[in-house]
């Protein structure tokens, strides 16, 4: 897994103001991790490279969205901890 300058953790659905703010703040060396209602983005997210975008598996499964995103991009709670710990900065939107 590559490490990121800033990991953006997004738990807001696509119609939330902070969702749009977050997407506009993602820099070229940054990663995006979707959690909680943020995983609803997998139905419509585009323009962010697959290797920089992840979604939390339990939240995807709870919402029946697992098939909307590649398996490589789904992460467990343990993966989430690794991602967070390896990033230089973390922003929780």
């Amino acid at each position: 897994m590559i490490t990121f300058k800033t990991l953006h953790i997004l738990n807001k659905p696509p119609d939330h103001r902070r969702y749009r703010l977050c997407l506009s703040a993602i820099g070229p060396e940054d990663g995006l991790l979707l959690t909680e209602n943020g995983v609803l983005a997998v139905t419509q997210l585009s323009g962010i490279a697959a290797e920089r975008c992840f979604a939390l598996a339990p939240d995807l499964e709870a919402r029946g969205l697992s098939s909307h995103i590649s398996r490589d991009q789904t992460v467990s709670f343990d993966d989430m901890v690794d991602l967070t710990a390896s990033a230089e900065n973390v922003v929780s939107w």
Partner: protein, 116 residues
């Protein structure tokens, strides 16, 4: 390890902001560098002259004024939000600095977390 806590919700309407304030105070209690940024409707937290006596809540202005005493490093107000809500420097709580919320500011902190 520095933390920026961002409050973008107006005062008094909900509890998320107060929880965030509590989080900032707790970080400060353990001498962890922490600053608070108010943006969007959140800048109204910083408005002078609040009188919550007739609400079943304590005055946010007075609670917030304790932040520097507890060791919160900075109270920051987003300049766009100040413009939007008609807040000039003189209208803001003492110790507040006006700044621009953007990538440069985010880069100054290891952790950035929104309230609620």
């Amino acid at each position: 390890m520095s933390t920026l806590i961002i409050i973008d919700q107006p005062p008094y309407g909900s509890w998320e902001g107060r929880e965030a304030l509590d989080m900032a105070f707790s970080l400060a209690a353990f001498d962890q560098p922490v600053s608070l940024l108010f943006c969007d409707a959140g800048v109204n937290w910083l408005r002078k002259g609040q009188d919550a006596a007739k609400l079943p809540q304590k005055s946010i202005e007075r609670n917030l004024a304790a932040a520097p005493i507890f060791g919160v490093e900075a109270l920051l107000a987003d300049s766009n939000a100040c413009d939007q809500y008609g807040l000039a420097k003189a209208d803001l709580l003492d110790h507040t600095s006006i700044t621009d919320f953007g990538p440069e500011l985010i880069d100054c902190f290891n952790h950035v977390a929104f309230a609620g």
